[in-house]
């Protein structure tokens, strides 16, 4: 790694830590039960929304009602996205006249965006109309993120409330998260992005003449789509002149802002944040990286505020950083070391003042190695899934990092809201393990952890693991699964493992070589995304419901303090051990085998 690599990583972490503190305090106000400066500011708008929707904001929902409201809202959203894609040829704002999306792809995309995954089997600029992107995809970017935050806030209330039945009101939490957190931040960020060159308009695509005309060779096909051959059996081809370039347009900045802030990750364009219209400069890249961690990081501190002990929030944030920083540095170092297969050729891949060097396949010049490697770690530590470099072309170890960060259960920052409630499940498991060691009933934040809580926490921890392992096995056993693989050897298995890990942890990034827009992959990954998102959220709400009903146990000499470095290390170990034990065998067949065979 070069000095500048370290400087850019250090700068990112410093700015992040400066921003999460005020962010955490602000969100604690937004979700406070008592009215305060923030919620009084938007009280009239809020009241108007509740009246129009026939919602009683004073209703305190039990966990079952909270879960039901969450589920109903998300399933309706999912159906709306499906309908928009199927009906887009007959709807307005479709200047490129894109046809209806196929039923399996539309279903996959609808689940993908409603579950905050944003796995994309399609290419944005050649599939989705502006209307579908705006009214379907961007709306779900907001609402799935707001849903994650709402569920988290309800789970935290389970720890805070004593002998209570309710966890709060889903509609109020949803509206507040959207109105006070996501919308203002998105507006600010969208304008920052436009200032750097991200497009924002409703124009049709623009054709510009090329400075140097060129041509390409096209293979002629008959009506059945087979290559036509001449008498000697050679394929018939023709030269096609290229004199113009079609520049895509659209309301991109507004969607990209929330795609990053809401840890959604679904690109407006196919190349996602590698596309110069989606991420034009190093500064836009820096803003996009910060935006991914801002809310998940801030929520850790919001949690500390809500439970009345800020150290608890810092401890969770420290745990996340403890896992994240070494893995991020590892990814950057692996990419900077480059690809040995190219080193054998007459290629200069050394870092210098004139070039980034390293493994530049699938990377953009303006980002080089460090801004790409760091982005890859951030987007997979959080369940964002936006990419600014093609993960399929990462070095074996550089690709192992993002894959494993997803497999850890998306709890190292993770999705907005969902990352922290996942981490809370691990925290409950950690205090339980500590309790077993000393032979005491475990407690966390003044609540006894008993059989029911442990069942729900274990379910939340193990469900994504089980989905990854089982569905990867299914995919490599079925011809329709193997058919999508693009790269030969161990890397091909990595493509499958990565795809299933991504969907089963609601990340959404991909080893893009895998041809996943087929009925088999659309259905398999659609199921993974749905079951990773909603049952897990419901299990955590069930845990919170039971916790809220309990009395508060005062701290005693036997209580394990959960704000100390000791607990931070214990929690990090639990996360890593579960992730390592479950996935090392599979990783050995993919990235590790590829590393060993690549001539290092």
């Amino acid at each position: 790694m070069t000095a500048n690599d370290c400087l850019q990583v250090g700068l990112f972490l410093a700015v992040l830590l400066l921003l999460v503190k005020p962010m955490g305090a602000y969100m604690a106000r937004v979700f406070a039960d008592a009215p305060n400066r923030v919620t009084r500011f938007g009280a009239r708008a809020e009241r108007g929304i509740y009246r129009l929707c026939g919602v009683d904001p004073a209703e305190d929902m039990g966990w079952k009602r909270y879960a039901l409201a969450m589920l109903a809202f998300n399933v309706l959203g999912l159906l709306a996205v499906y309908a928009l894609q199927r009906l887009q040829p007959w709807l307005p704002l479709n200047p490129q006249h894109f046809g209806a999306v196929s039923p399996d792809s539309a279903m996959n995309t609808a689940i993908s965006f409603a579950s905050n995954t944003n796995w994309q089997g399609y290419a944005g600029e050649s599939t989705m109309s502006y209307l579908t992107q705006m009214l379907g995809l961007a709306v779900q970017n907001f609402l799935s993120a707001a849903t994650g935050i709402a569920v988290l806030v309800a789970v935290v209330r389970g720890f805070v409330r004593r002998s209570a039945q309710g966890l709060g009101n889903f509609w109020v939490d949803l509206v507040r998260g959207t109105l006070y957190v996501l919308l203002p931040l998105s507006l600010l960020m969208a304008l920052l992005l436009v200032s750097q060159g991200v497009v924002q308009n409703f124009k049709p695509y623009v054709d510009v003449p090329l400075v140097q005309a060129s041509s390409y060779t096209e293979t002629l096909k008959d009506a059945a789509g087979n290559a036509r051959k001449d008498a000697a059996g050679h394929a018939l081809t023709r030269e096609v002149a290229v004199t113009a370039q079609t520049l895509p347009m659209g309301p991109a900045a507004s969607q990209i802002a929330i795609k990053q802030l809401g840890t959604n990750g679904g690109g407006f364009f196919n190349a996602n944040s590698a596309h110069p219209f989606e991420n034009p400069t190093p500064f836009s890249n820096f803003v996009e990286m910060l935006a991914i961690f801002l809310i998940p990081g801030g929520l850790c501190l919001t949690f500390g505020h809500m439970v009345g002990d800020r150290r608890q929030g810092w401890a969770l944030l420290a745990t996340m950083l403890l896992i994240f920083v070494p893995l991020a540095l590892g990814a950057v170092a692996a990419e900077q070391a480059g690809n040995p297969a190219l080193h054998a050729l007459a290629v200069d891949a050394h870092a210098s003042a004139l070039q980034a060097g390293g493994n530049m396949e699938g990377k953009e010049t303006r980002f080089g190695i460090v801004s790409s490697g760091l982005f890859a770690a951030i987007t997979t530590a959080a369940s964002c899934g936006a990419v600014n470099a093609m993960h399929d072309s990462l070095t074996p170890l550089g690709g192992l990092v993002p894959m494993w960060l997803m497999q850890l259960g998306e709890v190292v920052f993770g999705g907005v809201g969902s990352g922290l409630y996942g981490m809370l499940a691990f925290a409950v498991v950690a205090v339980f393990i500590a309790g077993l060691m000393v032979g005491r009933t475990p407690e966390y934040l003044g609540k006894k952890i008993e059989a029911h809580e442990m069942k729900m926490a274990s379910l939340a921890v193990l469900l994504p693991c089980a989905l990854v392992v089982i569905c990867t096995a299914v995919a490599v056993l079925v011809p329709a699964g193997v058919a999508g693989i693009a790269n030969p050897g161990a890397h091909g298995f990595s493509e499958v493992l990565y795809a299933v890990s991504s969907a089963s942890n609601n990340n959404g990034s991909a080893f893009g070589g895998l041809s996943a827009n087929t009925p088999f992959w659309n259905v398999l990954l659609g199921l993974c995304m749905f079951f990773a998102r909603f049952p897990l959220a419901i299990a955590m709400l069930a845990m919170a419901g039971s916790l809220a009903a309990k009395r508060h146990v005062p701290e005693s000499a036997g209580t394990l303090p959960t704000h100390t470095p000791l607990f931070v290390v214990l929690l990090a170990c639990v996360v890593i051990v579960v992730g390592a034990l479950t996935f090392l065998p599979a990783l050995a067949l993919g990235p590790i085998a590829e590393y060993l065979m690549s001539g290092h």
Binding site: L11, C53, V55, R65, F73, G77, E125, S126, M134, A138, V139, W171, L183, A190, V194, S195, G197, Q200, V206, P209, L210, V211, S215, Y216, E218, V240, V242, Q245, T246, L247, P248, P251, S254, Q255, A271, P276, F277, P280, T281, P282, F283, L342, A346, V347, D348, Q355, A356, N359, E361, G362, K363, T365, R366, V387, M390, S393, N487, H491, G513, E594
Partner: protein
């Protein structure tokens, strides 16, 4: 249950209006007001006519132009309507073959140049539309471009340096040269 679904439906419609209609329209309005050129794609014009976007790479294969990053878009390189990378893994033989061909093409266009080829000239970019190359990649091509245009290499090198942008704010990203901008400047030289 019926009430819950009605609530959910009303909430979805209202939130869609807010985040799916009002929000993008406000952003579009403000973008048009504050950054009109960027919002419309940072178009580059020559003699009043657009010839591309400063942010989107174009394919250059003529020895008299600087060549950009290899592009894996289909069916032709730098197809801005279908962005994407090669998605070839590091151990894929196709990746090494492609690199070998690119080196051969560069060597054929500039037989006297035996320097190792900067890595960004032999690897496909992530978007397939990378507008930039590294300063090392630009310098590697100076001798070829100078010969093809009958210009002194020093003059071409000076032009490269004038078009080299450092790290943003001195820290972020990597130094780079915008290929379209550099090539337009080269064409402008000839006309003078």
């Amino acid at each position: 249950m019926g009430k819950l679904v009605r609530n959910a439906l009303a909430m979805l419609v209202l939130m869609t209006a807010l985040t799916g209609v009002a929000y993008p329209l406000v952003v579009t309005g403000l973008a048009r007001l504050l950054f009109p050129a960027q919002a419309d794609g940072s178009l580059v014009t020559r003699e009043g006519k657009p010839v591309g976007s400063a942010l989107i790479g174009q394919s250059f294969t003529d020895p008299k132009y600087f060549w950009g990053r290899p592009s894996a878009t289909s069916p032709m390189a730098d197809n801005a309507a279908a962005s994407g990378g090669s998605n070839q893994g590091p151990t894929n033989p196709a990746l090494t073959d492609a690199a070998r061909q690119r080196i051969a093409a560069l060597r054929a266009a500039d037989p006297g140049n035996a320097a190792p080829v900067p890595v960004d000239l032999v690897t496909a970019s992530g978007s397939g539309l990378d507008p930039d190359i590294s300063p090392a990649a630009a310098r590697y091509q100076v001798s070829r471009v100078a010969r093809a245009r009958g210009l002194p290499p020093d003059q071409v090198l000076a032009l490269v340096e004038a078009h080299t942008r450092g790290r943003q704010f001195g820290v972020l990203g990597e130094p780079r040269v915008n290929v379209l901008g550099l090539n337009l400047a080269l064409d402008a030289l000839r006309k003078r």
